[in-house]
Amino acid sequence: MASKDELQSILKEKYGINKNISQELSKEECQKILHLLSREPSAIKLVESFAQKNSSLGNKNSYYSRMRNQAESKLKSLKTEYRGLEESIKTLEKNKEPLGARKKQLEQEREKLEADIQKLSAENRDLGVEVKTLSSRNNELTEANDQLKKDNKALKNLVDEIRLKLAMSTKKLLQYEDSEIRKALIKMFGSTLG
């Protein structure tokens, strides 16, 4: 007399009925099914259809299970990532405040520098005007200096020319006979005209 397990093995081998399906049946019911299947091809067909469907469902189940595992794994990593991001956000929020203060400080410094630039620019413009004025005055002084050095020499030559003419005139006067005039002229000639 065959045991239930042996009967289940026969059902598996001959008709593709898995043991986990036939497990719900009693030994007698396994015998009845074997008997039925040996006589009814339509039942065999039905059982094979069930087995095929079961196999297909099993494959799908396995596929979905893998997908679910992948999704769970993905979810886990996303959660980890999310937590990381939350931490980062917290850190950023924490840093935001001093950065805001720094930004404000930099903004103030920028405004101060801007004001300095404007001030320097104004000073530069003033200096530019001053340079132009000084340059103009310098040109005037250079021209005056050039004129002055010529005037100085012209005056010196004029005086020398007067002295020369006086010397010439005196020499002519000395040709006259009057001894008193000659004496006076010689005296003047000697003391003034060399």
Partner: protein
Amino acid sequence: MNLEGKELGELFRLADEIGGKRYHRLTPQDFEDYRRFDYWRYVSGDFECGTTQESKDWVKDHSDWDCPICEKSYSKTGGKTIDHKLPRAQYPWLSLNFENLWVICRACNQRKGDMHWYEYEHYMFTRYPVLYLAVKSARPSKLLRSLNDQTNPETIR
């Protein structure tokens, strides 16, 4: 300056003193002008490096055997020298104006020294009257007139 009561001789002495001064400030341009002659006359502008061929040629073209003042042979009076009729120390802008240059003997050049032109004429008239006409004929009238121009100093650069 109080000129009242001064004798003519004293007035002339004062005029000489003032005329000998440089009333203008000696500018870098003046010094550059002054040195212009040196760079033309001497190699590298240095007396010890010898005279340039260009200035030698100029001397040759503007002189003969005798000095135009004393009319003595250059060989007997120390050789040829280039003189500034209006001395370049006082007239730096005329340093290399060729109308201001002439060739005279060394003795006459030393006698002339740094005198202004009419001062030199007067000196020659009173001390060397025989040579005066030669000096007078060399008078740089055009340059002397240019001192009265109201334009910039005349220079040849």
